[in-house]
Amino acid sequence: MSKTTIPTGGIGILTQLAFNATQSASTNANTLDDYEEGTWTPTFSGYSGTDQNATGYYTKVGNLVTAGCRIGTDGTSDASVATIAGLPFTVRASTEDGAIGGGLVTYTTGLAAQRWYAINNTATVKCADGTGNDVNYNDFGANKTVMLIITYFV
């Protein structure tokens, strides 16, 4: 691939900078090699009910994804661990889940003490309570909503 050399004094004002849909990953720590913004569809994994009002947006800069979403439960009783699937990119492989990604709850009508952490090698985040125990859909609450900002490495 041919490259354009940028003067050492920097470049002037750009109006746009385009990247390919498929990342051309760089091994150089100081190289920006990807940018993308779009939508994704969050789903409750293993949930026997019907997801409510599921919407999601994301921006990826380099190897860091920031994804926002809204999703809700219906009135179905289900004791499966609450997990949101459908993240736009696969969470990076790592030795420990949650160490390279998680969610910030910006609004919820469900369980107050909910934490969401990214599961490595999946496109999911799992729910735990304030002490790290699994939260299931019944704990989360029927007819409840959560809005999250999820940040993780790929």
Partner: protein, 97 residues
């Protein structure tokens, strides 16, 4: 004035040992044949997902239903998601629940 919407796959990526498939699609809106807006939509296909019922401790594997995928993606799935890959990934996820 005719407004149309079409979806076009712009990237298919295979990620990691478990052959997770990342798909980027552009949703293209046109007015009288002229593009007025394009939205990138992303989705990820794993061989399976595993869930645990905390009341019974039963662990359930949900294999990804790929029947509605286009042939191009089905062909990649057939090639990459071997029985060994699916089995290894299921075991990996079960060890996490």
């Amino acid at each position: 004035m005719a407004i149309t919407k079409e979806t076009k796959i712009v990237a298919i990526e295979i990620v990691g040992d478990y052959k997770i498939i990342q798909i980027a699609e552009d949703i293209i809106y046109k007015e009288d044949g002229v593009i007025t807006n394009t939205i990138r939509h992303r989705r990820v296909l794993h061989p399976c997902l595993v869930s645990k019922n905390t009341d019974t401790n039963e662990v359930t594997t949900e294999w990804t239903n790929t029947s509605s995928e286009v042939q191009e993606i089905k062909d990649i799935i057939d090639l990459k998601w071997t029985d060994e890959v699916k089995s290894t990934y299921e075991t990996y996820l079960k060890n996490k629940v």
